[in-house]
């Protein structure tokens, strides 16, 4: 799929952590280009540095080398908003104050930001809980609020770090469905991290497979399953199965490799 405009451009990005046992290369030579309005998924074995990559894109961590360029379409917009993996909505704020948090930080008047927030609360089906506190919400509802908070902020790019990873299967499918619906309405440039091939295929336009130790781009696969997608229909299609198979074959080697590496490390340790 070709994109008219590039939104995110990453060149030769690297990240080195200084640990007591020496330097650890978490990311090495990452280069990629994400188009405006693209839904870009990243899959990889655990420990491949996908969260680190996303945190660098979000500006929460610094890189050790390379460049990142995010091209703004509108200078009034914030660059990015992130949906975190863990529970991240403020327990001391009501749903509407959580959803409008980004807008409040940008000094948008209360009436206006509440209006925007209400729209997104309705989209995630939590209108009844507009003024409820998170302690009254289930895990799935909390993550919906987190998604709404990112969308309401209307950023150039959305960053999602395994947002549905901690949910049970039924809730995960429901939230994937809702995310697809909201995304198809807004067409925001999205970078979505997951360890699930299925999730990447259901959501993404392209899927980047990462290798671990050090984290590198293994391959980028184009997922041209037709949109708008229905998760129930996608899964039974021949195309889905072929794509699933090809990604799994690449990932399988990576997972076994990283497993072997870590098990040899474990064996070495007693000798030190």
């Amino acid at each position: 799929m070709a994109y008219e405009k590039e939104s995110i451009s990453v060149t030769n990005l690297s990240k080195i952590f200084n640990a007591t046992s020496g330097q650890i290369t978490a990311l090495q030579d990452i280069s990629l280009s994400i188009g405006e309005g693209e839904f870009f998924c990243i899959v990889g074995p655990s420990g491949c540095g996908k969260t680190t990559l996303l945190r660098i894109l979000a500006g929460l961590d610094s890189s050790s080398g390379g460049t990142i360029t995010i091209k703004p379409t509108n200078i009034d917009r914030p660059i990015n908003s992130m949906v975190f993996q863990e529970q991240s909505i403020f327990p001391w704020m009501t749903v509407i104050d959580n959803v409008s948090y980004g807008l409040r930080m940008r000094n948008i008047p209360k009436k206006e930001r509440y209006e925007i927030a209400r729209h997104y609360i309705e989209m995630i089906g939590l209108s009844k809980f507009t003024h409820a506190y998170p302690s009254q919400l289930s895990g799935g509802m909390k993550q919906r609020v987190s998604v709404a908070r990112a969308f309401a902020n209307d950023p150039e790019i959305l960053l999602m770090d395994e947002p549905f990873g901690a949910l049970d299967e039924q809730n995960r499918i429901l939230l994937q469905h809702e995310l697809l619906r909201i995304w198809e309405e807004t067409r925001k440039t999205t970078v979505f991290i997951t360890h699930s091939i299925d999730e990447a295929l259901c959501l993404g336009d392209r899927i980047m497979v990462m290798s671990a130790n050090p984290g590198m781009v293994k391959t980028i696969i184009t997922n041209d399953l037709p949109r708008p997608r229905k998760i129930s229909e996608i899964r039974t299609s021949l195309q889905y199965n072929e794509l699933f198979q090809s990604i799994w074959l690449i990932l399988r080697d990576e997972v076994t490799n990283s497993k072997n590496n870590s098990s040899t490390e474990e064996k070495k340790q007693p000798q030190i």
């Binding site: 500006g59 990015n80 529970q87 001391w92 948090y101 409040r104 506190y133 302690s135 902020n153």
Partner: protein
Amino acid sequence: MIKQEYSSLLIRILSTLSPLSILILWEVMARVHIIDTRLLSSPSLILHAFIPLLLSGELLYNTAVSVQRVIWGFLAGSAPGIVLGIGMGLSPLIRSAFEPMIAATYPIPKLALMPLILLVFGLGETSKIFTIAIGVFYLVVINTMAGVLSIDKIYLDVAQNFGASRKNFYLTVALPGALPMIFAGLKLGMGMSLILIVAAELSAAKAGVGWMIWRAYDMFAIEQMFIALITLSLLGYLFSLLLDMLENWVLPWKKQV
């Protein structure tokens, strides 16, 4: 283990009955001379002494004097405690500058400072307020710092990701996140200030509930001493009730857990 459900009526009856039965037992033992009423008095004697003390306005006056000292001392101790505690929680620089000092001086019993405080601040109100303030300060500053440090790191990431300014970060993350622990510190501080008021009014006071206790000791007026003790316990109960109400109002999100 089997968890048993008791009816709320039974629980309410028991919690009224147990203090009541102690009063009755006390009265009976005093009447049959098992206990010496010159030392331990009896509920009826205390009640008898209570009425003139209340009608003359003496009890209310002394209570008002003590309450004023407690409130001023409490505010003077907790306000800087909250501010410094938040600073210490957020900034490693402030923390490393103040933590050793606080850790080293915290174990000193505040009562041991009374003579020094009297020398520095004289015999007036300031010395009493300061004694209470210093006791409250330590409890609030330590709890506030712990409260800020216990805020989940994810909320700091969220604030940064959504571009919170320094001021907004304090108002939307640091303060509300630390508030439950701040309240824990305030409640401990309130208990501490009632302990300290009695000690502070031991020396060079001319009024107050604590002063009443010491005067009763001098005059061997046991009934007045008991009345002052009961007043103190009522004050403690009222203050903690007030703090609970304040907490429910400030922390509506905690209530529904």
